[in-house]
Amino acid sequence: MRFAFTEEQLAFRDATRAMLARICPATAVRTAWDPASSGRDPARWKVLADAGIVGLLVDEAQGGLGRRVIDLVLLIEEAGRAALPEPLVETALVAAPLLAATGSPTANEWLARIVSGDATITTSLDGEPLVADAHVADRIIVQARDTMLLVDPRECSVVHQPTVDGARRIFTLGSDPRGLALTPGDPARGLAARAFDHGALGVAAMQLGLAARMIDLAVAHVSTREQFGQPVGSFQAVKHHLADALLALELARPLVYRAACSLSHDRVHAALHVSMARARADQAAGIAARKSLQCHGAIGYSFEYDLHLFMKRSWALSSAFGTTSFHRDRVGVVCLDGDSPPPDPFGEP
């Protein structure tokens, strides 16, 4: 039993945080809101690819780093802290391992392009009607029931659906998209289910980073903003709001890291662990958003101030790769509803 990251994993996280602070400051997130632009920065994506982050899970034979989900989870968290607009979860954590798992002859070619930063790929799994980043994606992996297709978004009609977060771009796909068949039949469902869990875990990690950023913003604000002749952060009512936000975040973290570990090792209850992680990471980000907004007062409600960029990303992500409610329900389905006994609470975590 050793529930801790390695020195190397922590050093990669620190380097990624520093890099994202440079290439993805809040001003860049705000730029990504511009409806006249794609909201995506190929140069920034290239930096992430060159750092090995985009191809982290891709085999070394295809040019990647051949690492596992547990090596990526802290970096996704940093992407959340920065509210990175580019589809890192979709491409690095969902599409790349899914492509590799199909064993399709075209997979290698696309994996190489993912690793080099020359391609982004997003997904529509299990008939999910909304797809992220269809306007810039080079391909979309579309799975419904027994079919899994690699679709060129330029060859099917995609329609932008504006969301609360102007930097998160979501699209509907035209019906019956055509594309290259990746893997037919039952395997398609199994692979998609696993890819879905990868995506849900990625969202959970993003939420941790978003929550931490929102708490940081509030701490900075209440430490300097003065009322009644003293910093508002010296008032207990304010302290208790932020203590609650930190409590939710710190107790969500181990669920997310455990889920990453379970996915890395194909543990029997990995899907349950992912849903537990999502339930609490979404909740922690929700609490951080509310508490941070309240502690900011009116400035937090203004569009010029950055807080809303992070709040809105968190809201938008809460329904990606399953809603918070879906994941809470899935915990109940596994642990409460069945007639079979739930996982042994005293067993291996």
Binding site: M1, G233, L251, V331, F346
Partner: protein, 387 residues
């Protein structure tokens, strides 16, 4: 990161499980906060000690097994899984002992620890006073130097002392410094007091749940020899802070307790669902499962960090204290909601839930109220201004 247990850890769990299955007396057990229950629990503590399960993480020379922190957590899980009796030794073994290991003299350790482990000497804590609760540094009980006898004369009143009505000893803080340089937390000293010593009056105070183990301890010129001072004179505050971080942190309320409560809650939910009831509480039961799981994982994360960095708990222990106390209360509230009309019953198969609820209500108050804990989290973990 490796979340599987080692072969040694698995073997340790098997051994603990087998012993507990064979030796835990059938329930329900009497409350350790009643006179009869306390004696029952003390006898049980001695059985634990004889089988070397009383203090698994202590060195062997004091009655332990030299177990790792992970093994200690495993033992705790098995202990609560087996539904074993309440630990009336807890204030000694979990709160005083870590401080003794760190700051006690060899003589003190040899004299106090084995007797504590064997339940020959059971300990109560003496922090709160009528005028000093959350504001512990306002305490007024004092100790005056008795040079001739080589010790101190203690006078004052300690209150809300858990099980002091039945315990043998008390540890607590007394004011030794009187000058201006000794105001508040600066002039305090940490003492061990024999509750049978002349000048000590123990007055039981009934608790909310009707049990009588709570007590006021009144001291009038009680002599305490120099050998019963822990740490340096006037530096009792920092000694005590070492104890309170254990109390708030993982040693007083380890995850096993709540895993067991969550498991009982799931069983109750399934039973009620069979009868066509309880579905309205499903979300709350899901939260109980998530809470128990999160706390277990968070604790494994903490002990991994402590094992590697040799780090102490510090202010993080306040996060733990808020979390477990509020989780415990929420689980019991959910159970009562599931029980419906039989929720108020305090006897019979479901009566433990109401009793447990009453006890859980104390959680956000003792060991430093959760309001104080939230201040600590905000000031020491988030760095918000104190004033």
């Amino acid at each position: 990161m490796d979340l599987t247990f080692t072969e040694e850890e698995r073997a340790f769990r098997r051994e603990a499980r087998l012993w507990l299955e064979a030796n835990v007396p059938p329930g329900p057990h009497p409350s350790g906060d009643t006179a009869d229950g306390f004696d029952f629990c003390r006898r049980w503590e001695r059985e634990l000690f004889d089988a070397r399960w009383a203090v698994v993480s202590w060195p062997e020379r004091y009655g332990g097994r030299g177990a790792s922190l992970v093994e200690w957590l495993i033992f705790e899980e098995e202990y609560y899984r087996a539904g074993a009796p309440q630990r009336v030794s807890q204030n000694g073994i979990f709160l005083l002992a870590p401080t003794l290991f760190e700051l006690g003299t060899e003589e003190q350790k040899e004299r106090i620890l084995p007797a504590m482990a064997a339940a020959r000497a059971l300990w109560a804590q003496g922090w709160s006073e009528p005028g000093a609760g959350s504001d512990l540094a306002a305490l007024r009980s004092r100790a005056v130097r008795d040079e001739a006898r080589g010790g101190w004369l203690l006078t004052g009143q300690k209150t809300w002392c858990t099980r002091a009505a039945f315990c043998d000893h008390l540890f607590g803080l007394f004011r030794t410094g009187t000058g201006k340089e000794h105001a508040r937390h600066k002039g305090l000293t940490y003492f061990f007091v024999d509750l049978r010593a002349p000048g000590v009056t123990v007055r039981p105070v009934g608790r909310l749940d009707g049990d009588a183990g709570f007590a006021d301890v009144v001291l009038e010129d009680v002599f305490v020899p120099d050998g019963d001072v822990l740490g340096r004179v006037h530096e009792g505050w920092s000694v005590a802070m070492s104890t309170t971080s254990s109390e708030r942190g993982l040693s007083l309320r380890s995850p096993g307790r709540f895993l067991a409560t969550a498991e009982r809650l799931v069983a109750l939910y399934r039973r009620e669902r069979e009868r066509g009831a309880g579905v309205a509480c499903r979300e709350r039961v899901v939260d109980a499962l998530l809470d128990a799981e999160a706390y277990r994982l968070h604790t494994f994360q903490t002990v991994s960090k402590m094992a590697e960095a040799g780090a102490k708990m510090g202010a993080e222990s306040s996060l733990n204290k808020i979390f477990w106390s509020e989780m415990d209360l929420a689980m019991h509230e959910t159970a009562l909601a599931l029980l419906g009309p039989s929720a108020p019953l305090v006897e019979g198969p479901d009566g433990a839930w109401m009793k447990g609820f009453e006890f859980a209500l104390a959680g956000p108050i003792y060991a430093g109220t959760n309001e104080i804990q939230r201040n600590i989290v905000a000031e020491r973990l988030l760095g918000l201004p104190r004033k």
